[in-house]
Symmetry: C2
Subunit: 338 residues, 2 copies
């Protein structure tokens, strides 16, 4: 598929557009000649950061508002060809301490967005960013899309509702929508101030600050990772293909790694980049243990088969790019008081 033709001069809305994946997606869409509008709440605890689009600021429109604002969203959705619906509350711990906010963003706002599309723009195509967190602690590995759903936190339950509203509106109202269940995604633009978006973020910060990475437990928990460019390509493919409508696809990687081994790789790269660094194994904090899922990695053969996607950037290369990015730009992502 020639992706560039799919988005040329198309009007595209990205929720969470100043965030990690949204901003990288925006960069790809701008390069393909799309007319891009970004929606972001810029809530400090979330992923949005204006610096993420510093290089493309004059090539797109930024609209700061919250996806929980149904009037703003209804207006912004008008006339759009595509919605990449990436905004979300992503912190598992925050979803437990403030479950209502998680529900409002990850479920209620999604329903309001879909209702706005149904009423005013039923021809739009929507790609929803979901999460492998929905599977909970896996029954088997790798986890395919038929694996039972078993969220382990409020966030997982609300993300599931948000995902299924999309599929339902596709099936019942013909509003073309699909969902990608993202695994751990990393790369330039991710939140590194803390672990709210991904534990890899805080690992990068600790390394650059010269502090040891803290690996919970024995560090043997397996994970798969996608570099953000690979994730963006999956989003673009899903948006461009009507075969994806009504479907859920796992993303994932065939490069599966234990967390201790990952820490070792990052320390090694830190040395190469003259960042230095080290890691330590520490016991699981109880609130983390309660929602830990053990090993996880995805079977992503469905999206490979149906949309031709597979990840291209290997973990070492992706981590090297990521760490070099934050080595150069960390002052835009945290300061020493925070």
């Amino acid at each position: 598929m020639m992706l560039s033709e799919s988005y040329l001069k198309k009007r595209v809305l990205i929720t969470g557009g100043l965030g990690f994946i949204g901003s990288n997606l925006a960069r790809a869409l701008v390069a393909q000649g799309a007319e891009v509008t970004l929606v972001d709440s810029l809530i400090p605890q979330y992923g949005g950061n204006p610096f993420n689009i510093d290089d493309i600021r004059d090539k797109l429109t930024v609209n700061v508002c919250d996806v929980r604002d149904p009037f703003a969203m209804a207006y912004l959705l008008q006339g759009k060809d595509f919605l990449f619906n990436l905004a979300g509350q992503t912190s598992h711990l925050d979803s437990m301490s403030d479950p209502q906010t998680d529900l409002d963003i990850n479920a209620a706002a999604q329903l309001a967005i879909l209702e706005a599309c149904r009423k005013s723009n039923p021809g739009i195509k929507i790609v929803f960013a979901s999460t492998r967190q929905l599977y909970g602690k896996p029954d088997y590995l790798p986890v395919d899309e038929k694996h039972p759903i078993r969220p382990v936190d409020v966030n997982g339950i609300n993300k599931l509702a948000g995902e299924w509203y999309h599929l339902l509106y596709n099936n019942v109202y013909g509003i073309r929508a699909c969902a990608l269940r993202l695994t751990n995604t990393y790369g330039p633009g991710m939140r590194v101030k803390d672990a709210r978006q991904t534990f890899l973020g805080i690992w990068v910060r600790l390394l650059i600050e010269g502090k040891p990475i803290r690996v919970f437990g024995d560090g043997l928990q397996l994970r798969d990772f996608n570099y953000v460019d690979d994730c963006v390509e999956a989003l673009l493919l899903a948006g461009a293909s009507d075969d994806a409508n009504g479907k859920i696809y796992n993303l994932g990687s065939s490069e599966v790694v234990g967390l201790k081994a990952l820490a070792e790789m990052m320390v090694e790269l830190g040395n190469e980049l003259k960042i230095g660094g080290g890691y330590e194994l520490i016991p699981f904090p109880p609130e983390r243990k309660a929602i830990d899922i053990g090993d996880y990695y995805s079977d992503f053969s469905l999206i490979t088969h149906e949309l031709g996607w597979q990840p291209k950037i290997d973990l070492r290369e992706g981590l090297q790019r990521t760490m070099a990015y934050y080595q150069a730009n960390h002052m835009h992502y945290w300061n020493n008081d925070q």
Copy 2:
């Protein structure tokens, strides 16, 4: 298990307590010496009807309020030993025309109730009334609890979220909770004014009004049914057993019947009761067809095995009691203007 000992002098809150199942449950609990408080919003479109507890009105406390009122609910939950959490928006069509209200009641209010329990009454035991509607169109029959979840309407998605919040609070916070996935439940006290709660309700009304029952499609769709006393017994068993904590159980019946055959049985009973009646096959209304699930009946062997429950009232006996009840009491359930 001697159920009566489990509830003697126990303080029990029932949401949806003036509704169909809630009122029948209240009757059983009052008989077992429980101190029962009913919460009901008495929203006209929902299931609550003060006449449902006419015979036990002086043996319990009624508190009219909405489960969406977090302050009222937090107060009412204090000091209770049991919560039978039955309040819900049950209309599938209403959930599609007003999805936000369905979300507020079936998901957001449930989360607020659980938060109130976590903060002020973590020792409470909760039984949540869920629905077989979560399974969507079955992959196989009978449907057991391992069947994939695939809601076909907004109501199904929100009920799922509500159910899983309960399980999550059991698993993470130790607030003892379990869920029963009810199949079609019928009996005295069900909403018969319209089909918002169960299609059997409007069938009973049509028969008593001397109008033909309308069966959608070819009438060969299979269903299973529980008489309300059997459903109440399952709720009581689940409440009394700590083996049920964190579990989901299907209810169901081994008496599986096609809708046309059901209509024929009701017409026959109508004749015996001197109500008379008839039925007609009519094409599926499009909005019904879109969310129709084909055949459905449950595998309820898990609750039989673990809690010793099985239905005792056969369909003919249950329908006979139900129709006789509405023959005598219909003036309390609808009037000719509505």
